[in-house]
Every structure is written in C-alpha cells, then in structure tokens.
C-alpha cells in the first residue's frame, strides 16, 4: 500500500488519475476547439475565452494551495492572497523589465512609473529581474521567504485557530497598504501593467495566450500531484493528526511547528506560482490582489468545492469564477448576493462541498475494497 516512493504514490490513486485525465482532456479540447474549429463556428473557442480559462486554472492552483493548509493542516489562512500577489509582482517586475525602452518615456532601464516619479536609478530589489531565470526563481522564493518568516514566528508561539486566521488577514492587509505607496517602488496603486512580451513572445497574440493557458494547466497538474504526494505520505498523516489533536501529535514526538511551517511554505510557493501565471494573462498586477476580501474569496472557493480533497478546491475555484464571469456580465449588482446565496446553500445542503457528492461514490467503493482486503489479511 505504501511501498512506492512518495512522489510516485499519487499515480496509484484512482481519484488522481481521474483528475489528471479530466484536466488533460479539457486542455486538449480547448486547444482543439481554438485552433481547429474556424472562427465564427458555434464550437469555436475564442482567444478571449482561452485566456479566461487560463485565469481560472491559475485560480484553481491557488485554491489547491489553500486547501493544502486548510484542509489537511487545519490552518485557515485568510491571507493567501498575499503569497499569490507576491508571485504576481515578481512576474510583473520581469515583464516590466522586458518592456525595455519601448515605454511611454522611452527610458532604457527604468519602468515608466519610476521615470514619472523622477527616480534616476533602479531600486536595488529591481536588479536581476531582467533575467527570466532569476525572476521565475523569485516567484517561488519571495512568497516562500515571507511564509517562512511569518510561519516561523506564528507556529513557534503556537498561535492557532481564529487568532492565526486574523493574523494572516492582517498580514495581507498590511502588505496591501504598503504596496499602495509609491515609494515602495512597485508602481503604487496603479501597480505594474502595460506588459508586452514574455520570454520573447508577444503577450497579446493568441498563440501566447494559448501557451499561457496550457502552462497554467501543467502547473495545476504538477501542483496537484505535489500536494497529493504530500498528503498521502506519512507527513500528510502527521498533518491530519496535527489538525485533529495537536497536543497528542506533539506527545508522540513530532515537532508539530516544523511540520506546519514546511507545509505552509510549500503552499505559499504554489500560491506564488499561481500568481505568476495569473499576471501575464490578465495583463496587470496591483495592490488590490492583496485585499483581505480576495483572500476570503479563495477560502469560499475551497469551502464550496469541498475541503480536504484538493480536487474539490479545483472544482470550487473554476465553478465560482465561471459563475462570477457570467453573473457580472448579466447583472453585475447581483453577483455578491449570488455568491452569498450559493455559499449558504452549499453549507446547508452540501456540508462537504461539491466534492462531497463525488467522493460519496468513490468512498463506498473504497470501503468495500478495504473490508475485502481486511478479510484477506486476517484470513
């Protein structure tokens, strides 16, 4: 049952294989309907829609990251938007440097907003972001480092439950206020925008958009597999044990705060990666991604989809964001009521989220398998 190496273990799970198959099929279908079906045909998927789906996939990866800490570790982070935004800013800084001297002011090095602010040189933390490799590394390291410092302090002092949620909320709020300031050097309330190219590909071309959509899909698959590998390992079981009886886990000899920190940092890095994929697809990153409201919304996606399943988070993120796109198009004022209503309905009728419906069947089958193998073992 557990003899495989931890990274290969998810491939032995039925739910993971189904998830991967559905994801890959969806990616292939969208690609096909975009490329092979002529525009104007009712089955044609426009570049705009491909872009939209790409955005959903990056949100889905963010939701998976939140579900990892909330579902399996019991840490309700109301500040994961901060890690998402930091990854986004790291990507945004790279994209800004790619503009080069084609900005409005035509400065060879400085981004437009710095010229506008009369700065004469690049702040130290902007160096290196002209190199893609460095920038992509920072996409993971910047949120990871923030999570490491924050988590180290929080878990060491054994802050848990509601208090931890409030502190994460405060963290993202403080960062939002900081990033709003022009002297921070991240473009103030306008943020970073007017991107042109990524790795030499024009961001406005439909091919690049398709590429970003596929990259988001691959990132989601990899992130999902990584999280699955973590939760099906012994470390994952220690996480669940910590979630349900922290003192008891500590009593068994596990340094609980280190496990929490490890998983929290992994989750923050995945959130950063999601942010980095999101930014080139929407073409802008500004401090509103740090807003506490956004972080709470992510938690809603996970709750709607079903906590502690990972695929539930993906379903929730895509479902809610699709509904949001539709609703805000049809009647923008009603969206928040619809979201609230949806949340109430799901909590009352589907306490385990949309995934609860799906897993009911899977679980029945697994229980049948399990009791069979138990009989086999005792025989």
């Amino acid at each position: 049952m557990q003899s495989r190496s931890w990274l290969m273990r998810p491939f032995g799970e039925r739910s993971t294989l189904i998830f991967l198959a559905v994801l890959l099929a969806a990616m292939a279908l969208v690609t096909l309907m975009h490329l092979a079906v002529p525009p104007g045909h009712s089955l044609h998927v426009s570049a705009y829609t491909v872009n939209l789906f790409g955005k959903y996939l990056s949100y889905a990866l963010l939701a998976v990251a939140v579900d990892l800490v909330w579902g399996y570790l019991g840490i309700l982070s109301l500040g994961h938007g901060a890690f998402f935004a930091m990854g986004g800013y790291a990507m945004g800084m790279y994209l800004m440097r790619q503009i080069g001297d084609r900005g409005v002011y035509g400065h060879p090095v400085l981004p437009d907003f710095m010229v506008f602010l009369n700065w004469d040189s690049l702040p130290w933390y902007w160096h290196g972001f002209d190199m893609a490799g460095f920038a992509f590394l920072m996409v993971l390291l910047a949120p990871g480092a923030l999570a490491l410092i924050f988590g180290f302090l929080a878990f060491r002092s054994r802050v848990t439950g509601v208090y931890l949620s409030i502190i994460t909320q405060a963290l993202t709020f403080a960062l939002m206020l900081a990033f709003f300031r022009n002297e921070m050097g991240f473009g103030g309330n306008n943020g970073l925008t007017d991107f042109r190219e990524i790795l030499g590909f024009n961001l406005r071309s439909s091919e690049t958009r398709l590429g970003l959509f596929l990259a988001s899909g691959v990132a989601l698959a990899v992130g999902y597999l990584l999280c699955r590998a973590i939760v099906t390992s012994k470390l994952g079981r220690v996480c669940v044990a910590t979630r349900d009886a922290e003192a008891r886990t500590r009593f068994l000899g596990y340094r609980v705060e280190r496990f929490q920190l490890f998983v929290f940092v992994v989750s923050a890095m995945l959130a950063g990666l999601a942010g980095a994929l999101y930014v080139p697809q929407v073409g802008i990153i500004n401090p509103s991604e740090f807003s506490p409201l956004f972080s709470i919304e992510i938690v809603l996606w996970v709750a709607l989809g079903g906590r502690a399943t990972l695929y539930g988070a993906v379903i929730g993120a895509i479902l809610v964001n699709y509904a949001k796109t539709v609703f805000t198009g049809v009647m923008p004022d009603a969206w928040l009521f619809a979201l609230g209503g949806l949340f109430v309905l799901v909590t009352v009728f589907l306490p385990r989220g949309v995934a609860g419906l799906l897993s009911l069947r899977l679980r029945r089958r697994r229980d049948a398998d399990a009791s069979f193998s138990a009989k086999e073992a005792s025989a």
Binding site: R237, V240, F259, S378
Partner: protein
C-alpha cells in the same frame, strides 16, 4: 552543533564515539524505584514520604481514594511534576529527576491518560503507524515507506490489542473501549519498558472490561505495567500485587486479599466504598 562542541573539547573522548549503552539497567530487579518522595502544593502535601518499587515485568495496581496522590505520582514519574525531595530511579542507571518529559518518554516510559485521544480521521492502522518509534523529522517522515518489518510490527500490536479486524476503519467510529485499546496500542508501538495506565476501564462495559483485563495481564512480563484504577472488581481480576495509597503515602501493599483484609485499608477506602453502597 553538539558534535562541533564535542570536537572542540579536549578533555574527553568525542561524545559520538562513546558507545550507546542499553538504556535501562534492571539487573538488580526493580525497574522503577521511588524513595522518600515528597511533594507539596501550597503547603498541602500531595505526596508524603512515598516509597514504591516496581519490579521488571510486573503488573501493579495502585488504588486509593480521591486525593490519595495517584495522579501526582504519575506526574512525578513522567517528569511533569518535580518533587520537593526524594529519589526517583528508572532501573539502576537513570535518575528521572534529572530528566525532562521528552527524555523520560524516550527512555521507554509510556503514559496512557484517562480520556482516550486518538486521531479520529485516520485509520486504526495509521494511528499505530504514526505512534511508531521512528525518525520523526520532516524529510524522513515525508519520504517514509511502508515495509514488511513495519507492517509486521503494526500487525503484531493490532493482534495484541484485538483490533486487527478494524485496521482499515477510521478511528473515529471506534467505541470508547476500542479507542482505549488503540491508545494502549499506540503506546506499545514505541516499545515502552514501563506503561503507566490511568483508569483504563472508566466508562467501559463489562465485556470491554474483561478484554482490557486480558490485554493488560498479557502485556505484563514483556513490559512492566502500573495501573491506577478505582474499580475494585477490575483490580481484583487483574492484580497480583496491589498498592494502596492514602494521603500521599503507601498504606498497604500485597495481594488483593491481603490488602482488602487490612483493617486500615478497610477503614479509609473499602469501608468508605462499602458505606456508599449501603
């Protein structure tokens, strides 16, 4: 760090070169030895000149009315409470008063608290797996694999605690008694030398009590077991030797028949119970 420090000191052999000695020395008989232990909380003497010796492999029951100091005694042995005076030795080598709780636990003293706490979302098998003595740092835990040796060990404990049939069921669905057995199993996974069990049969049905009695008597011999219990019938069914605590010290010690016929014991404990029953 400690390796570096030991490299720097020149007055003795490097720490990591000193062979690790077998942890507990029981050549002289007793595995646990308490002498003249006294603890007071705000002037109240919870433990008063307590002397107690547990032999290796023995099953000992400790009884006594409320406030006799049973739980405080357990706290002292596990390092949770420091006595004001006295000696507490584990085997003839380890002075427990010089150690902290995790050190004492890693020496092989397992304590089962009154209220069962198991990981309800995990299966019975997984509960035992987490409890097993293993490298508990992050990366070894992440990459840990199940092998035949580990599975055999878990199966052995599952058989001992009688939950082999329920191995793949979630611990949350177990009955109260089954949770107690599972928790004892979790202690056994750490291969303890001495088990301290606090009121194991509180809230159990007759049938569950019988099975618990079988379980505990089965454990004795391989481990030393100290059971604190209120239920006289249960104590009678398992105990070879009973210690009666009263006001923080030993009032009587011997077989159940001996102590129950001791007039002082009858007066302070059994008598009180008899009156309650009347």
């Amino acid at each position: 760090m400690s390796i570096l420090r030991s490299l720097a000191s020149r007055d003795r052999v490097f720490d990591f070169l000193v062979p690790v000695e077998s942890p507990v020395d029981v050549r002289h008989g007793p595995i646990l030895y308490l002498e003249d232990v006294t603890v007071s909380f705000d002037g109240f003497k919870a433990i008063n000149d307590l002397n107690l010796t547990i032999d290796d492999g023995e099953l000992r029951c400790i009884i006594g009315p409320n406030g006799a100091g049973k739980t405080t005694m357990m706290d002292i042995i596990t390092g949770k409470t420091r006595p004001d005076s006295g000696k507490v030795w584990f085997g003839s080598r380890h002075d427990l008063l010089a150690m902290n709780e995790p050190q004492i636990a890693s020496l092989g003293i397992g304590r089962k608290f009154q209220k069962p706490t198991v990981f309800e979302a995990l299966t019975v098998f997984e509960n035992l797996e987490l409890a097993m003595a293993a490298d508990k740092r992050i990366l070894p835990t992440l990459t840990a694999r199940m092998n035949g040796e580990i599975r055999d060990r878990i199966d052995e404990v599952l058989k001992t605690i009688g939950l082999a049939e329920l191995r793949v069921r979630q611990a949350g669905i177990l009955s109260h008694g089954q949770k107690q057995w599972l928790e004892i199993g979790m202690l056994l996974m750490q291969r303890p030398r001495l088990l301290l069990v606090d009121e194991p049969v509180a809230g159990m049905t007759e049938q569950e009590m019988e099975r618990t009695a079988e379980l505990l008597t089965g454990l004795a011999g391989k481990q030393s077991v100290v059971v604190v219990e209120h239920d006289m019938g249960f104590v009678r069914s398992i105990a070879r030797k009973v210690t009666v605590l009263h006001q923080g010290s030993v009032l009587a010690e011997g077989s159940m028949d001996q102590v129950s016929s001791d007039p002082r014991v009858v007066e302070v404990y059994l008598g009180a119970e008899a009156e309650e029953e009347v």
